[in-house]
C-alpha cells in the first residue's frame, strides 16, 4: 500500500509537469500560464499557491530565490526534487499501465 503522503492529485501532477517543462524558469505565474495553455485548466492564484505549498511540504518541489535581475525584479523559481521526480514517475507509470489497451477508446497514441 502506498502511503497517502506519496499520492499525487491531478492538480499536483499538472503543476509538477509544468515545472519540469519550464526547466528552471518555473515562476508561479509561468506555471499558471503553462497549465492553462497545455493542461487546459485556468487555475486561480489561490489554488496554485495552495498546491505549490502542499508540494513543498511533501518535499516534491523546492524553491530557489535568485539574485535580483536587471530591473529590480527578484527572481524565484521552483524545481522538482529527486523525491518528487520519483513519485511523479511512479504515478505516471501507473497511469500508463492503467491506460494500456484503452488507447482506442481514449483516442491517444500508444
Amino acid at each position: 500500500v502506498t502511503s497517502r503522503k506519496a499520492d499525487l492529485g491531478e492538480l499536483e501532477s499538472l503543476i509538477m509537469l509544468a515545472v519540469l517543462r519550464l526547466e528552471g524558469e518555473a515562476s508561479v505565474a509561468r506555471v499558471r500560464e503553462e497549465v492553462a495553455e497545455r493542461g487546459g485548466r485556468q487555475l486561480s492564484r489561490g489554488a496554485t499557491y495552495a498546491t505549490v505549498a502542499r508540494l513543498q511540504r511533501k518535499g516534491f518541489l523546492s524553491l530557489s530565490l535568485g539574485d535580483s535581475a536587471a530591473g529590480g525584479r527578484s527572481m524565484h523559481h521552483f524545481t522538482v526534487t529527486k523525491r518528487g521526480l520519483e513519485t511523479l514517475r511512479t504515478a505516471q507509470q501507473h497511469l500508463i499501465r492503467m491506460r494500456a489497451g484503452l488507447e482506442s477508446i481514449l483516442k491517444v497514441a500508444k
Binding site: R4, Y49, R54, L63, L65, R73
Partner: protein, 900 residues
C-alpha cells in the same frame, strides 16, 4: 522599478492578513508577484482605488485559500482535499467552505446582512460604552460622587426648568464649608467653579477657560501633577500669594513644555500668579453643572484657588467628593441630607442635600437615549438573524436531496446538524469580521454624526471591549440564525430524497411554516421600529417648526467682556457697548444692537416682578424673564410691537421709567384690560415704578421645547443689568461679518475680549442635536429592518410560487384567470403582513412607555401615527408579494405540468 509603495488602508490590511496566512517560505513570492502586477496596472493607468481594491481581493483570496490549508486540519495532506466520511471538525469546516463557495449568492447575502447588523450594533455600542460604561479617568472612579442641593418647593413649579432644577442645584459655597466640618463618609470633598481668565497678549486680550478650585478637589480626584505640585492648603486662604496650576496643553503651548515654567508669573485678570504645577493631559473636573456658556468652549486650561472668602458669599459651586472605602454612596447621601437638615435654619433658601455617583451626574439624562438606541439596533439585529434563518431554511429545503443522500450513506442526524451549523457559523464569522471592519472604518463618520453636546464625547472609541462585544454579538447571531434551519434541514428522511422531487417533500411543510413564522416575527419587529421612527420623526418636526416669534436667520450674538480688569462702572460698560454698536452698523449689511441674553442662545435672566394694582397689594410674579436691551433691539431682532411703542432715546437715565411686556405677560396679568399705562416694579430696583409703554409679540426664549414664558423688556439705560451681548443681524456671509466685527471691536477697544460668538441658527440646531440624532438613527434602523422584513416576505412568497408551480399550472389549464392567481399569491403574503402588523401593534403599544419620554407634543399611543404605519407596512408587504406573484400569472401550464 516598482513605483509608489504606498498603499491604501484596505490593501495594507489585506496584505497583512495574507502574510499571516501564507507559509513564510512562499510569502516573498506571493508578495512579489502581486506587487509586480499592481505596478503593471499602475502603468496601465488604473486609478489608485481600483488597484487597491483589486490588490486587496487578490491578497485576500490567496489568504483564504492557503489559510484553509494551513490552519484547518484534515485533508491538507491528502491529494486534493480529504473525503467527507472522516468526521473531524476540520473536514466539516472544509466541506462547509466548499459548500458556501458553491452557493455564492446565498453566502454573500448572508455575510452582508450579518456584516450590516453587527456593524450597526457595534457602532451604537461603542457610543454606549464610551459614554456610560467606560470608567472615568480617575483612580477608583466609583468612589467619586457629586453633591447637590435641592429646593423641594420647586418640584411643583409650572416651569419645567424649575422642576428639573429642584433636585440638582449647585450648592452654596457656605454649605460646602459646613460639610467639611461634618463626617458623612467622604475622604475628601472639593468645590470648584468654572471661570474665565483674561490674559493680556500683545495682539489683544484673550480669555482662557479655567476653574477656581479648592485643594480638596485635587485630593478627591487623586491625580498627581506631572510637574510641581497641585493646589494645596493654604493656597486658598484669602491673603495667600496667588498661584496657578496649568493644564498640560497650555503648558506645552505657552511654555513649550519647559520645566522652568515653574516659578514664573502669569498675569491673569491683571494680577501676577505664580505657576506652581502642571496637571497631566486629560485632567480636569467635569465642567460644572451650572451653565457658564459665556466662557470659551473647551477643556479647562488652568486652575487657581477658590478663595475661602467664598465661605461668606452666595456663590454657587460644584462639589465633588471621594467616598471612604466601604462607604456606599446611598449611606453618604443619607447622612449628608441629615446633616444638611440640621443646618437649614441658617439658610432661608436651600433646604436639602444629596449625593449621586459622579458618572451619573455627568451623563445626566443621556443614558435613556443611548439604551433606547441600543435596544433599537438590537431589534434590527434580531430581524437580520431571523431573515437569515429564513434564507437558510429555504436553502436547506433545496438541499434536502444532498442531506438525504448523506443520511443514506450513514451520516447521523447530529452529524448533519453539525455540518450545517459549521456552515452558518462560518458565514456568521465572516460577516461578523466584516461588520467589525465596517464599524471601524465608519467610526470617524459616526463621530461627526454624534450630537456635539453629548457628554464624554472624547471617550468614545473602538476599544478592545467594543470589539469583544462585537464578537459576542457575532456569536449570538450565529446561534440565532443557524440553529433552527440546521435542525429542520437535518431531519432528512433518506426515502424522501430518493423517491421524490424537491418541491413535494412532505416534511418541507414544517420548514415552510417555520419560515412564515419567522417572517411574521420580522414584520412585527420592523413594525415596532417603524412606529418608533414615525413618532420620533413627527415629534422632531413639531419641535423644529415650533413658532419662534422672530427671524433667526443671520442673527449672531457676540459676547463681550467689557470690563476684564474690573475697574469700569456699569455706566461706562454700557457706554462702551453703545459705542461699539454704532460702529458696527457702519459695516455693510449689518444691523446691530445689544441685549443681556439673546433668545434661544441657551441663556436667560429672570427676576421677580410686582404688578401694581390700584387699591390692592401688588401681585408677585416670580421668575419672569427679564430682557434688558438697547433701544434698537426689538427692530434688529424683528420682534413686532403689537401695541404702544418701542423704546426711544428719551427712555434714559432720569427719564420716566418704562417697560415693554410680552403678549403672554399682558394676557396673563391684565386679561381683557388695556395694558398700556399699567405699572409694575422689578426686584432689581423695587423703588422705581415702571410704566408699560408697549406690548411685544411673544418669542420663545428658553428652548424650542420650553413653553413661552412672560417677559419684561427694560431699556439698558434704566437698568442695573449688564448688556454684554452684541446682537448682529447680518445680510450676507456671516463668517465675514463676524471677522469684520471682531476687527472693529479690537480697534475700538483693544482690551475688550470677545468671549463667545453664537450663530443663532447653529445654536438652535445644537439645542436639538440629541433629539435629531435619536430620530435620524431610529429612522435609519427602522428602514433597515423594514427592508429586511420585506425581503423576508418576498423570499417566502417566491418560494411558495416555485413550490406550487404545478398546482398553479393545473388551475390555469382548467381556465383560471392569471389575475386570480396573482390575487391568491399576494393574499398569502398579505396574511403574513397582517399577522406581523397585529403582533407589532401589540408590542409597540405595550412598549410605548419606552419612547414617551422623547416625544414633544405627541403621545406615544398617537392613533393616526399607528394607523399610517399599519397602512404603510401592509402596502409595502403587498408590493413585496406582488413581484413574485407576477411569476405565478405567467406560468405556462405545459411547462408546469411537465414531469421532472
Amino acid at each position: 522599478m516598482r513605483p509608489g509603495r504606498s498603499h491604501g488602508l484596505l490593501l495594507t490590511i489585506a496584505r497583512r492578513v495574507c502574510r499571516g496566512a501564507v507559509p513564510a517560505s512562499l510569502w516573498p513570492i506571493v508578495d512579489d508577484e502581486l506587487l509586480d502586477e499592481l505596478s503593471e496596472r499602475e502603468q496601465r493607468g488604473w486609478p489608485r482605488w481600483r488597484r487597491d481594491l483589486w490588490g486587496a481581493a487578490q491578497y485576500l483570496s490567496v489568504a483564504a485559500r492557503l489559510g484553509v490549508d494551513r490552519f484547518i486540519p484534515g485533508g491538507a495532506e491528502g491529494p486534493d482535499g480529504g473525503t467527507w466520511a472522516h468526521g473531524d471538525w476540520g473536514l466539516d469546516l472544509r466541506g462547509a467552505l466548499n459548500g458556501l463557495r458553491s452557493r455564492p449568492m446565498t453566502t454573500l447575502t448572508v455575510v452582508a446582512t450579518v456584516a450590516l447588523a453587527v456593524g450597526a450594533t457595534t457602532s451604537v455600542y461603542s457610543v454606549v460604552h464610551g459614554v456610560l460604561l467606560a470608567p472615568l479617568p480617575y483612580p477608583e472612579p466609583e468612589r467619586l460622587a457629586r453633591v447637590w442641593q435641592t429646593r423641594a418647593e420647586w418640584g411643583d413649579s409650572p416651569e419645567a426648568e424649575f422642576r428639573s432644577a429642584a433636585n440638582r442645584l449647585g450648592p452654596l459655597a457656605p454649605s460646602y464649608y459646613d460639610w467639611l466640618d461634618v463626617d458623612v463618609g467622604f475622604e475628601s470633598l472639593g468645590a470648584y467653579v468654572d471661570a474665565g481668565y483674561v490674559l493680556q497678549q500683545p495682539d489683544g486680550a484673550q480669555v482662557l477657560r479655567g476653574q477656581e478650585a479648592t485643594p480638596g478637589l485635587f485630593e478627591a480626584l487623586a491625580i498627581e501633577p506631572i510637574l510641581g505640585r497641585r493646589l494645596q492648603v493654604p493656597d486658598d486662604l484669602v491673603d495667600a500669594a496667588p498661584v496657578v496650576v496649568l493644564s498640560e496643553s497650555f503648558w506645552r503651548g505657552r511654555y513649550g513644555g519647559r520645566p522652568d515654567a515653574l516659578g514664573t508669573d502669569l498675569v491673569l485678570n491683571g494680577t501676577p500668579h505664580t505657576v506652581v504645577g502642571v496637571m497631566p493631559a486629560g485632567f480636569g473636573a467635569p465642567t460644572s453643572a451650572l451653565r457658564q456658556t459665556m466662557l470659551p468652549p473647551g477643556d479647562p486650561m488652568l486652575w487657581t484657588p477658590l478663595s475661602d472668602e467664598a465661605r461668606r458669599g452666595w456663590k454657587n459651586v460644584s462639589v465633588i467628593g471621594r467616598l471612604r472605602r466601604g462607604v456606599p454612596i446611598e449611606v453618604a447621601s443619607e447622612r449628608l441630607a441629615a446633616a444638611q437638615a440640621g443646618m437649614t435654619a441658617v439658610y432661608e433658601n436651600y433646604r436639602g442635600a444629596w449625593a449621586e455617583g459622579l458618572l451619573d451626574s455627568i451623563v445626566g439624562d443621556v443614558p435613556s437615549t443611548l439604551w433606547f438606541l441600543l435596544a433599537a439596533v438590537g431589534l434590527v439585529l434580531l430581524v437580520a438573524t431571523m431573515n437569515i434563518a429564513g434564507i437558510l431554511t429555504a436553502s436547506g429545503l433545496t438541499r434536502r436531496r444532498e442531506m438525504a443522500v448523506r443520511a443514506a450513506l450513514g451520516a447521523s442526524w447530529g452529524r448533519l446538524v453539525r455540518v450545517l451549523l459549521v456552515e452558518s457559523a462560518a458565514m456568521a464569522a465572516a460577516g461578523g469580521l466584516a461588520g467589525l471592519l465596517l464599524a471601524w472604518i465608519t467610526f470617524p463618520l459616526l463621530l461627526r454624526f454624534l450630537p456635539p453636546n453629548l457628554p464624554r464625547h472624547d471617550v468614545i472609541g473602538m476599544s478592545a471591549s467594543v470589539m469583544v462585544f462585537g464578537l459576542a454579538v457575532t456569536g449570538l447571531a450565529a446561534i440565532l440564525m443557524g440553529t433552527l434551519p440546521a435542525v429542520l434541514a437535518a431531519r432528512a428522511d433518506p426515502h424522501d430524497a430518493i423517491r421524490t422531487s424537491a418541491r413535494t417533500f412532505s416534511s418541507g411543510r414544517a420548514a415552510a411554516t417555520v419560515r412564515a413564522g419567522l417572517v411574521v416575527a420580522e414584520v412585527s419587529l420592523a413594525f415596532v421600529l417603524l412606529v418608533g421612527a414615525a413618532l420620533l420623526g413627527n415629534s422632531y418636526s413639531r419641535l423644529w417648526s415650533v413658532e419662534r416669534g422672530f427671524a433667526t436667520e443671520g442673527l449672531v450674538a457676540m459676547r463681550l467682556e467689557p470690563d476684564p480688569g474690573g475697574d469700569r462702572s456699569l455706566e461706562e460698560e454700557q457706554e462702551l457697548v453703545r459705542t461699539l454698536t454704532t460702529r458696527l452698523v457702519e459695516l455693510p449689511g449689518v444691523r446691530a444692537s445689544a441685549v443681556n441674553h439673546l433668545p434661544l442662545s441657551g441663556q436667560r435672566s429672570a427676576t421677580t416682578v410686582f404688578i401694581e394694582r390700584p387699591g390692592a397689594e401688588p401681585e408677585i410674579v416670580r421668575e419672569t424673564l427679564l430682557t434688558v436691551v438697547l433701544d434698537s433691539y426689538l427692530d434688529v431682532v424683528e420682534i413686532p410691537v403689537i401695541a404702544g411703542r418701542t423704546f426711544e432715546r428719551g427712555d434714559a437715565v432720569g427719564g420716566p421709567p418704562v417697560a415693554i411686556v410680552s403678549e403672554t405677560m399682558a394676557r396673563r396679568y391684565w386679561p381683557g384690560e388695556t395694558v398700556l399705562g399699567r405699572r409694575l416694579r422689578t426686584f432689581d430696583d423695587t423703588t422705581a415704578s415702571l410704566e408699560v409703554i408697549g406690548v411685544a409679540a411673544d418669542v420663545r426664549h428658553q428652548g424650542l421645547d420650553v413653553a413661552i414664558a412672560p417677559t419684561v423688556y427694560l431699556p439698558a439705560s434704566q437698568s442695573r443689568r449688564e448688556i454684554n451681548e452684541l446682537v448682529l443681524r447680518v445680510r450676507g456671509d456671516i463668517e465675514d461679518a463676524v471677522a469684520s466685527a471682531r476687527a472693529v471691536i479690537a480697534s475700538s477697544s483693544p482690551t475688550t475680549p470677545v468671549t463667545r460668538v453664537t450663530i443663532l441658527d447653529e445654536a438652535i440646531g445644537d439645542s436639538v442635536a440629541v433629539p435629531r440624532f435619536r430620530t435620524m438613527l431610529v429612522v435609519g434602523l427602522a428602514g433597515l429592518a423594514a427592508v429586511l422584513a420585506l425581503l423576508g416576505v418576498y423570499g417566502v412568497v417566491s418560494f411558495v410560487v416555485a413550490q406550487r408551480t404545478k398546482e398553479i399550472g393545473v388551475r390555469m389549464a382548467l381556465g383560471a384567470h392569471p389575475l386570480d392567481e396573482i390575487r391568491r399569491v399576494v393574499g398569502g403574503g398579505f396574511k403574513l403582513g397582517v399577522a406581523g402588523a397585529v403582533l407589532g401593534l401589540g408590542i409597540a403599544w405595550s412598549a410605548a412607555d419606552a419612547v414617551a419620554g422623547f416625544l414633544f407634543e405627541i403621545t406615544a399611543t398617537d392613533a393616526p401615527t399607528y394607523m399610517s404605519v399599519v397602512v404603510g407596512v401592509l402596502a409595502l408587504v403587498c408590493v413585496a408579494a406582488y413581484v413574485p406573484a407576477r411569476r405565478a400569472a405567467i406560468v405556462d401550464p405545459i411547462e408546469a405540468l411537465r414531469p421532472d
